[in-house]
Symmetry: D2
Subunit: 140 residues, 4 copies
DNA sequence: TTTT
DNA sequence: TTTT
């Protein structure tokens, strides 16, 4: 019988997506995603960050590689999958990944657009970091 | 900034919960949960099962140890947490667990009760009692 | 910017799905779904039922009309949509519906199949073997 | 039997929360939340916005009234509840609301902080939009 | 009535 | 390794 295996994350990319093209032309993208939670402990604000291995396949991998970059805030929906693999020493290991089925960029308009003209909103220096914009037609 | 780290599972317990009492009186329970997905591959029905490590703390652990047993169908909501530990050979390893924040038993009423002696409460009659189905005032 | 509008329900159908075929051949199915919550109030167990209007389109409507019937336990994922309409007296009214994007039947195997003849599927023996784990033949 | 009734939304507040104090000292807050979805129709980008009635009770209402303001991007988790009421003409009506059980502000750091000292960065210039800040100690 |  |  069918069950449900669903993960919902909102967090920031720790790195740009890493894209690979497998034999047969299948595209896979992956990146680490940080979800942070903060709470009070003994009167102090503590922040705890959890890192997730996000994996995207085919068309979703291609869209991700175009629009997602390090630092972006993103909503991700997917499922858990634990894989086994052998490391260099032939030791069997486990990794749990979130296989994305859907994602949505969150954040402000400025996160989705090319920087405004320098005169109107002098952002040029800031934008040199290159982490903050997308060009072209964004399909979401 | 806060993010979201949420897992939603519906599946069957692979074993009865294992309960431990830590120093300080904190209760922890854990069990494996199977979520199955079936799909067609080359015209055949394939079933793929994913296993999850579920961990519950304190009061939730205690409720779980009372009501959850091997084979039960349960809805679990929680968050992902990846821990590191050293195995017997002092090799650093990772496990990803689902720390439950909430759970709900699913299934039929009969799954929640001790089975009535067959002679005393034949299923047909039992169901006629009207406690187990959705008749009555449906507002649309 | 895109947002998220997601509903997750587990409940029982209040009626069989009602199926309509619109002009142009589009199929729509709808049914009421009950989600019940029980809690303690003044020392008594109180059960509160919430009714949801579920709507399914096209292929999903067709699958629903085949497999879902009154009383079945189902997991539904979808989104909220509030529509306006005029009642018979031309009064403008609002309804909020859950437009299903996905659903999964929950419950036991026996809920999915016609019961096998006892001789053909000796369940007692099978179940005796399975003391501790879910390998091979999973009985749900 | 218990079911699941869960709503997950990410969207922007259409208005500041409206706060009421009921007899007995219970606080209720409510606001409209917009979730937007955009898709291609006949080669054009179409945006469709869904409006949700969000209701928060007690402590959550109080936190919301402090930190949520019109325009903010927020993650909301809650459940559906359909209420009946009589309008001025004594006509029975239905409203479906999302009773929040949890929320998290999303967005950038600048959305969570007081504006920099006026002399150093007068609000108007600094924020441009001017709709975007919170004062005081924000606990998330 | 939001936001992009 | 992100973000606040």
């Amino acid at each position: 019988m069918s069950g449900i295996n669903k993960v919902i994350l909102v967090g920031h990319l720790g790195k740009d997506p890493e894209v690979r093209h497998l034999d047969g032309g299948v595209t896979v993208a992956s990146f680490p995603l940080a979800t942070s939670e903060s709470y009070n402990k003994d009167g102090k604000r503590v922040e705890q960050t959890e890192w997730h291995n996000i994996v995207l396949w085919r068309g979703l991998a291609e869209v991700a590689s175009k629009y997602l970059t390090k630092g972006k805030l993103v909503y991700i929906e997917g499922k858990l999958r634990t894989r086994t693999f052998e490391d260099r020493e032939k030791v069997k290991k486990y990794v749990t990944e979130v296989v994305a089925e859907n994602f949505t960029l969150l954040g402000r308009k400025s996160d989705f657009e090319s920087p405004a003209p320098a005169a109107a909103a002098p952002k040029a220096e800031h934008d040199f970091s290159g982490t903050n914009d997308i060009n072209g037609d964004i399909p979401f």
